[in-house]
Symmetry: C2
Subunit: 351 residues, 2 copies
């Protein structure tokens, strides 16, 4: 309507005022806004408001269980290193494992689009089966729905999961405090870039596969080596940045990250430069970030590196009482910049 | 390709050989085939193979929990008597309640299509909130994903649920035996016809709304009045017919139904005649069917009729050892016909 750039409204915010836009699913600011403004207020309760990846429920008789849910809409459904079936199992197992829970049972609910080749369905089911078997967790209940061509996209999967939380274990962002040290279990952004490369048919330097993997064993090893762990999280949608910003802002703590310490594969770094992304914003599906007390860092790092899924584990930063609510990246040349969430989507449908 | 009808293949079976068709989601034979041939074999375990609407898990320390999941893809998302939000809460509460479990927690996972009006989302969330509040069950964990325009259909919801199973309670098709009597808690087909009428803009005789309602209270009242109840089920997709055929065929028992005893509203009967459907095949979302021992029928029926959601409860038939695997409808004029599942879809996307 107007030819003046100065007068032109920024299109995303306007659109996002009254309709769902892709950015609402990005794991960025719009996702937070949607959830905090439109969904959470309806369902206020302590378990939900903790906004951890799993709710912990006390069932009486001393039993505490963790309960989690995720819907998977990754596109394409097959990608190097996995597919939507294994991803759906790993993702939900990981949400349980990050609460320190031992996975006990999964549900598997399918929304299939008319026209999906049955061969694709079988491949996805076989992949989910193999992933669940490898973890040793049974799929105990399920559901299958079909929608018409053009009302879905091949296959969407919801997996929900139940786990048993060991007696006495207390994990979560509520336990993080100044002086805690931050570890990651390996390289950042492998999953997001592998999916994106498949979707866009990008040629990467070297082989890159998704890191999709079940983290229950790694998490248990970490908890044994360092019982004082404050919190674990698998940095999926929105990447490590989303986890750090969330902890800093919810707990009004400062977080300092040493940019040079972030482990990143060359193929991911190259693709990110090409695409204008930063690995810290890109999804992982087989990595954990752990907040540990200072006196537990050495034991924790050794335990992670001893495990096949943690060989590239690294210390990346610390929690401070300076600059509450802020994540600061210390750059290799001695500079400093604030790490923020992107407003809208960088990488839609990555999980 | 051929102009001869005799040579023309039946299109549904051919298409269904290598691709998903709408009938795979109908609750009819194709749905059973898909699940029994392509999904169950991958995940064999006793809890899943019971094929009840909920899995019962023993967590040790004497705690047994029920776990269930359902994805909702109903179209349209708003219909007389409810919407996809209340439906998703009621459906999952009912799956828990049919196992005799007391609902403890729900998860709520959204797949939103780009372009969905936020006002619609808010209306659905408010409806889910009100439904969960009325049951007294908290939504403790959730997830939100967004897919592009044309890759979804407004809003799909997965709700999973956890309930506590009272000590000593054993319910399920495994407990049904010859001589058991069959009750339904009210009129058949209200939900399916209400949704279909909204979708097709049918004018019905009189007002008809979905029966979508939470059955936990009704189920508890029934269990108190008649502790010998063998099995309860909410006959949703595929209607009462799907439940009866499944019990008869899985347990190799005969079931006889008195057609004249089936409670059906005039508006539903009229719409079914117009559409060539039978109410026994049409989905309900606020009704239960109960298998009870003969000496418990009077107490069970009285308890159902005493409850606001069971006022139209009726005896409809019995379990026999004749004709194992078969459901027989006795017609008002003394005839008899076999009740079977439709091959493919009658009513797509009804829940």
């Amino acid at each position: 309507m107007s030819s003046s750039l100065a007068e032109a409204p920024c299109p995303t915010p306007i659109a996002a005022r009254d309709r769902i836009v892709m950015g609402h699913g990005s794991g960025g600011r719009l996702t937070s806004q949607l959830i905090e403004e439109r969904i959470l207020p309806a369902f206020r309760n302590p378990a939900l408001e903790a906004l951890d990846d799993q709710a912990v429920l006390d069932l009486g008789r001393g039993s505490r269980i963790a309960f989690t849910t995720d819907s998977y809409v990754v596109s394409p459904i097959f990608f190097p290193g996995g597919d939507i079936g294994s991803l759906a199992v790993h993702g939900t197992v990981n949400d349980l494992a990050m609460g320190g829970a031992v996975p006990v049972a999964l549900s598997l609910s399918l929304i299939l689009e008319e026209g999906l080749p049955l061969a694709d369905l079988e491949r996805v089911i076989e992949s989910a089966r193999a992933a669940a078997n490898a973890v040793g967790v049974p799929v105990v209940t399920g559901d299958t729905k079909v929608v018409g061509h053009g009302s879905g996209d091949g296959i969407f999967i919801n997996t929900s999961g139940i786990g048993v939380v060991p007696d006495g274990l207390e994990l979560g962002s509520a336990h993080v405090r100044p002086g805690d040290q931050i570890l990651v279990s390996g390289t950042l952004g492998d999953h997001g870039i592998a999916v994106l490369a498949q979707r866009q048919r990008l040629e990467l330097e070297g082989e890159l596969t998704s890191d999709s993997a079940p983290l229950h064993g790694l998490a248990q090893a970490l908890l044994v080596a360092c019982p004082g762990v404050r919190m674990m999280r698998d940095p999926t949608r929105g990447g490590l940045a989303a986890t750090l910003v969330e902890v800093a802002s919810r707990r009004r703590l400062g977080i300092e990250v040493a940019e040079a310490a972030l482990p990143v594969k060359d193929a991911v770094r190259g693709a990110c430069e090409l695409l204008g992304l930063e690995p810290i914003h890109v999804a992982n599906e087989g990595k954990l970030v752990a907040f540990v007390p200072e006196d537990g860092v050495d034991a924790a790092l050794a335990a992670l590196r001893d495990h096949p899924l943690g060989r590239d584990a690294a210390w990346i930063g610390r929690v401070t009482s300076d600059r509450p609510g802020t994540v600061v990246l210390r750059t290799p040349v001695g500079g400093m910049r604030i790490l923020d969430l992107p407003y809208a989507e960088l990488l839609p449908r990555i999980c």
